[in-house]
Symmetry: D2
């Protein structure tokens, strides 16, 4: 299939690469040009502007940092909306707001173009290995059209509904749940750590018993090690996703107190200079509030007979 791809960050590069590997004819575009060279070597055509990416494409992916970048690329002059053929599909894999997804859906519909929201779960390594989980929503025929493309980038596609914004809502809520895991682990480790228990041993107990999910192992390890650099997913992106979750929740009138709390955590982290840290660094704030690891204050104040 003839496919366009806009946005060659760590995630996008891996995804575009897998589209090539699956035999599709891929034209790529990135605002800063250097990023496309690796893909050119793998057979991609490199476009100089967004409109070129749309030329003759049956589908165009966008995998960009935030709402503003997507708006620019879609609604901007010679953007996707203006350039995509009737009946061709815009596949939006970025983590964007529910509100923007609604706007994109409406605009593409009016232009008689298709729109599929297909955000993904997974880190850059998963993107490179075609192991992403794809959460897709949109018109059934459009989904059918792009199914082979989604299959090429992920290990499994989950179709949520025929309404694209629902896929974005699932993605945002998933990131909220991860942030909740980070925060709750941070609180629990602050407690047991100050109580004189080794955090790594504690984590081992947790993940050998009830919390035997890779998520607990990986984020728990980062918190226990206090190893927040380099960032796998930077704190400002964490804040962005919680903000988008809260915005969707506000539009739907759903109070989410843990989301509110996590947002405050990100603000604290960023206010104190955590811009470049991994988002799991919010999991260290409870420990800091508790005045560190204690020791003299620890539980073991006496010896058993």
């Amino acid at each position: 299939m003839k496919v366009g791809f806009v946005g060659l960050g760590q995630m996008g590069t891996g995804m575009a690469s897998n589209l090539l590997r699956a035999g599709h004819e891929v034209t790529v575009y990135n605002r800063s040009a250097g990023k496309a060279e690796g893909l050119r070597e793998k057979g991609a055509r490199v476009a100089a502007r967004v409109s070129e990416v749309c030329d003759g494409a049956a589908a165009v992916f966008t995998m960009l940092a935030d709402d503003a970048a997507v708006e620019q690329v879609v609604f901007g002059e010679n953007g996707i909306l203006a350039s995509l053929a009737r009946g061709a599909v815009h596949v939006s894999s970025s983590t964007i707001s529910v509100a923007l997804s609604e706007r994109l859906d409406a605009a593409h519909g009016k232009a008689e173009q298709g729109f599929v929201a297909a955000p993904v779960f997974g880190r850059p390594e998963a993107a490179a290995a075609a192991k992403l989980f794809v959460v897709a929503a949109g018109d059934a025929r459009m989904l059918e059209t792009v199914a082979p493309l989604l299959d090429a980038i992920g290990q499994r596609t989950f179709v949520v509904s025929d309404q694209p914004p629902t896929a974005n809502l699932v993605k945002l809520s998933g990131n909220f749940l991860i942030a909740s895991v980070i925060e709750s682990l941070g609180e629990a480790m602050a407690l047991v750590g100050k109580g004189g228990i080794d955090r790594h041993q504690y984590l081992d107990i947790l993940t050998s018993t009830l919390f035997n999910a890779p998520l607990y192992k990986s984020y728990g390890g980062l918190i226990a090690d206090r190893k927040f650099e380099p960032a796998g997913f930077a704190a400002p992106l964490g804040l962005k996703d919680v903000r988008l979750t809260l915005a969707a929740a506000e539009a739907l009138r759903v109070p989410m107190p843990i989301a509110s709390l996590v947002r405050d955590r990100f603000l604290t982290l960023l206010a104190r200079g955590g811009e470049r840290l991994d988002w799991s660094a919010i999991g260290d704030l409870a420990r800091q509030e508790a005045g560190g690891d204690g020791g003299p204050l620890g539980i073991p104040r006496h010896r058993s007979g």
Copy 2:
């Protein structure tokens, strides 16, 4: 080994039964007498008072509902403290406060008795099947003494430290983490549900991807089904454990905002008549605050082209 066992609720009955099956000589006691009959048939001696259970026992287990019950059985007239032989061990498997564990440790030490805290993770079915996870702490020699007993009731024993209260802290923090999972799932489901997404499908996406732990599957299912009766673990017990977590955290000066939030949730649930519901019913409160499942307010307000 000659073993005593006090407390024959659902958990205790399963544990005592497995001690018998492993070949130990078990004397059991329960405040209300009827509960012991099944164990008598399996070979247990049934005591009429706590002191009898201690007669000649190398170790006595307690598996009781709360601090007050344990205090009564240990410190009461003719209780364990007064009746247990020097050098024999009290194994406390109840979920009790860190402060009581400290008191028990000190009192038994003074009486030249051993004390091991060995709370367990697992539901009644796991207790019956000897599949509990045991978290143990205490003096190394004492732990060695009771190791075969702990092996008989669980699938694995984790030794935390030589200070008994640390095991109680691990247990409490673990229950706090489960409550956090319930609350965060409740918020996420309130959001996506009001956004027009099927909760069961949503849960399936979560547990097929990042949240592939049995915990998410089981509690998520209860929340999605809104099936909170019969209670596997009743709401008042959930409140008790969060209260004990917060008490330990206060003693150690560790702020735990999610624990505070979860406590408020339990109070709301109980204030509205949820005494007999499973503790996962706090996972429905976000949905209730959001005014139910929405529908007219849901995201899907337009049709894509």
Copy 3:
């Protein structure tokens, strides 16, 4: 002075009326025309469009519902920005976002027009009686120009700084503080009410002692009476102001946990159908969560000798 006035809601009508009373030559505009009739009788000229209001005016006030309304009136075709004379001043009294105030300041500066942010504290009766408190910020010369106008609408003007957005920040933070009073009173009354204490008597104790501010008396009375209709300040406006406070706080990286909590309260209130209630209705939510007023659960379970 020749003055324009856009926005004739309850607040704006009172303010424009007082400008007339002070002898100024006032041209008014409101999107829906009927509202201007009373002012016409008092001597106002009634404009048919925004641009007319700017004709020859030394200053133009805007007193509108939200950011969108202000943006429309200022940046829209033939809006204030396009119509106001060089050197004339736009006085913005609406409760708007800090971000919009920054944009307005920059745009008017570029157009060589003045911009003063002058939000007000006070209810419609205070506006009618020229008893508002005006919080003003902007260039010193501009403030001097409009000082007689601000004096005409309020009992006192507080100049914050030469940066207009600071006045908006003070206004938003003030509304946040009022919402905090409502929420904390709501929690305290839920507690003592369920403890068997008469809420009105309780409020009387509070306001006769430490909390002797009219604010506590008025909002406390509404909560004790559970009288939330008609709305003096409707719940959706309360949510808007907390949202703008949180947005400013996020831009400045300031976590405000009570603001987050109050936001969740407004969402709950609105999700349950509280659109038309006064914002003080969030002060009833703690009582509702507590399962009402109790009685059987109340403290007085015994009689003293």
Copy 4:
């Protein structure tokens, strides 16, 4: 009247002094003896033990630090319960738990003694000047008996009900409300301070307009000055009162999220070494979380034209 007085801290000394001044025959007791000398000079009889204080007394006041101290003095050997004459009244002015007040009421009732809870609002200076506000509850006849005594120590007495614990609940909830004011002012000042606004000017605006209560002026001043030493009311006492509020709320099943938040604030403050600071120091934590006062991050990024 013949009156006993136990507890000669800053508050108790002022109160006992005013009982003397009003012409009563006062016998005082304090655990550490030196504190009574000033009162001896004013005419008090100084007792060597609690029982002496009760000898022939029509009423005995207790004004002690916490539940433990009151329990000791009342239930201890030769304590008030054992020594007070039938029909004489124990007036408890300490800030104690609702649960202890219930126990005291029951015990004194059984001993055919009277019990009046009469906690007070006011700082040591108010105690010295007989300007306290007294919140009293108990049997009507008992209240009548002690009315002249309460009049001697305060400027006004509020009778809540015939159930003593209700007065304690009012006192605790009042301290909760003060803590809420501190926290909300702390958040607002963190916001406006980082936004480039002078905190003292901000406070002046607040207290000249809507928040014209001495409470806002005094606590706002401490927060703006960041002057938390010497402590007028020390942070550990603040934590104690919030804990007692939350305990009463839990017993009554009333969720109080701001109380939970304030508790976490006190824990943070104390974990970081704030034991000796005034409780208003929690009002600086939002500023600290926000990374201090900002400046470069402040709003004023541009100059108006």
